[in-house]
Subunit: 355 residues, 2 copies
């Protein structure tokens, strides 16, 4: 049985395409008295990008903070804020920022229509009511959040996505100019999120030709960006991220993403850097990928944090192991159906202790 | 100003995925008393594929003949046939076959909702009413018809597509098993349609990183299929076709496709073989591509028809030239804004006389 795979149905790509945002959303402004919500990473407060947002009368500019990765309680509070702002639902949500901001915008668009807390929907296909129209403008490239059918949230009990076809964006505007000003470390860690999930997807047991075509081209583009020097590297990284996301269609990520979830849940480490920290100890599982990754780190003079688990008590370490090993499909993709015998709690703990 | 590019929003890919057709269309069977129309290339009459079509009570199995490429008069007659079969509109159209059959199914789904003749809509964005739901099951790979926003028709006055976002399929089922039994010549010519439009797109002046990523991977897959030997070559060709179609998003085909249109309009030569005949005289414009194409022909022992324009009168030849040169965006993409000085009627005629 094959999955029937939904994809974002409308895409605009090009340098300066952000200037066409007003025109793209105009046909969606249909309800009298309604409005658009622009969800903006608060790092852009007072920056030129903020002043370029095509606000119309009644629109809401919602600054969000992503110092921590998105929590379900934060989503619930933002949804309440919008409902208090106007009793009419917005005609659309525009998410402008990196993976966390894009995930917040996705979650808001779902929770404005579906009752209860966002924590109620962490899992697979639990959303029943279609979301509000939502559009993404990535300002970072690599997470694949712009194309994925999930919004990854940290809830009271778990870090887990709201996976649903309704989570998918209705429209993307991919403007490579917007990722030009990202600080180097963040650019690298976010790009490596893409590189690593390509490696995990291509080396996984679930792969087929659909996912392989996307994954191989994404990997090729990552190499051009992080090993070569290209004047159009921002364009290439944006396409690498999109293709990397598409490669997950009939595939899965693997060991590194699972370990990164544990780091994030227990230590609050962001996903991109968490993936890098975890990947650096996975040479047994991904020997070629890890070697190439270290070459990329060297070229860009990246120093990973060390000894991050040194001061952790055993309970915290055990919780980290449990969080990682709960991600069954990731381990199955990585190590096959016999994964439980291959990745014991002991082995997993040893990996964490090396980070 | 960038184009806002629509894509087919749902895709199922995999060997044997045709078996899930009934389940995929089940949620679309919504109107009481309505039905589905299965548009099937008549080459499959009595073949195993025909008996695998999940017909339900009231459904219509519509055999279509594609010995000639689709004409607007043929579309109009088929639409009439469906309207006479049942005064209720079908809930969906399923096109099963190669590029011509897929184009027929697209055109039917548009014309069931839009009044008048299909010839009235040849051009760009002339369709105003959304089509009936339509789904494609390709049995040949290379045309990109499964993913394009056009259905190419030969009308009383011109060969030109109905280009519209409504033309796009709502769903694809890409089952590589279905292309296994294609006769070698047809397999080659259709695959070359893809190879050639990749070359034209990548070498064109319109290219950007979005189209380049798709075009380069499509070309890579074509090489794996036609120069190497792979057990999964059918999967690869199906992905090459899909990626080749996607590469046209922000790009265009070029000289070869333009010349092939002339061959088709005047001599009724099918598009795939027409592209091969035209490409073989275009070594001045696409030197590397033509050299590699000849290598592929040699490997698969393909003999192109020769002297096909030898017996043509001057009027017919002039009409061919006019047909080709009317395709302005193709020439602009190929030769830049100065194309009229570079591709004179005289030069174009000489190219035709070499075929």
């Amino acid at each position: 049985m094959y999955r029937n795979f939904s994809i974002v149905p409308k895409i605009m790509f090009g340098r300066g395409s952000f200037n066409q945002l007003a025109e793209v959303i105009a046909p969606e402004r249909v309800t009298p008295g309604s409005y658009f919500v622009f969800v903006l990473d608060d790092i852009f407060i007072g920056k030129p990008l903020e002043s370029r947002i095509p606000l119309e009368k009644g629109d809401l500019l919602l600054h969000v903070n992503v110092d921590d990765e998105p929590k379900t309680s934060y989503i619930d509070a933002l949804v309440q804020q919008i409902k208090q702002y106007n009793e009419i639902l917005p005609d659309g949500i525009v998410g402008i920022g990196g993976g966390s901001t894009m995930d917040i915008a996705k979650a808001i668009s779902l929770l404005l229509k579906n009752p209860g807390s966002s924590a109620d929907y962490q899992g697979w296909d639990l959303i029943e009511i279609p979301s509000v129209y939502h559009l993404a403008v990535p300002t970072l490239a690599g997470t694949g959040a712009e194309i994925s059918r999930t919004t990854i949230l940290t809830g009271p009990e778990k870090k887990l996505g709201i996976n649903s076809d309704y989570t998918l964006y209705n429209q993307l505007i991919l403007d490579p100019e917007l990722i030009a000003g990202v600080p180097k470390d963040q650019w690298f860690y976010t790009g490596m999120d893409c590189y690593i999930h390509d490696v995990e997807s291509l080396q996984g047991t679930f792969i087929n030709e659909f996912s392989k075509s996307y994954g191989e081209k994404s990997l090729d583009l990552c190499r051009q960006v992080f090993l070569d020097d290209h004047p159009d590297k921002d364009d290439k990284l944006m396409m690498a991220s999109y293709f990397g996301g598409m490669s997950i269609a009939y595939s899965q990520v693997g060991a590194c993403h699972a370990l990164s979830y544990g780091l994030s849940y227990v230590l609050g480490i962001h996903h991109g850097i968490g993936c890098c920290i975890a990947f650096d100890v996975l040479e047994d599982i991904y020997p070629d990928g890890v070697a190439e990754f270290r070459q990329m780190m060297k070229k860009h003079d990246i120093q990973l944090p060390k000894n991050i688990t040194a001061d952790l008590g055993n309970d915290a370490l055990e919780l980290m192991v449990t969080t990682a090993l709960n991600l069954v499909p990731l381990w199955e993709n990585c190590l096959g159906s016999d994964w439980k015998n291959l990745m014991t709690r002991e082995r997993c703990k040893k990996l964490y202790l090396r980070m």
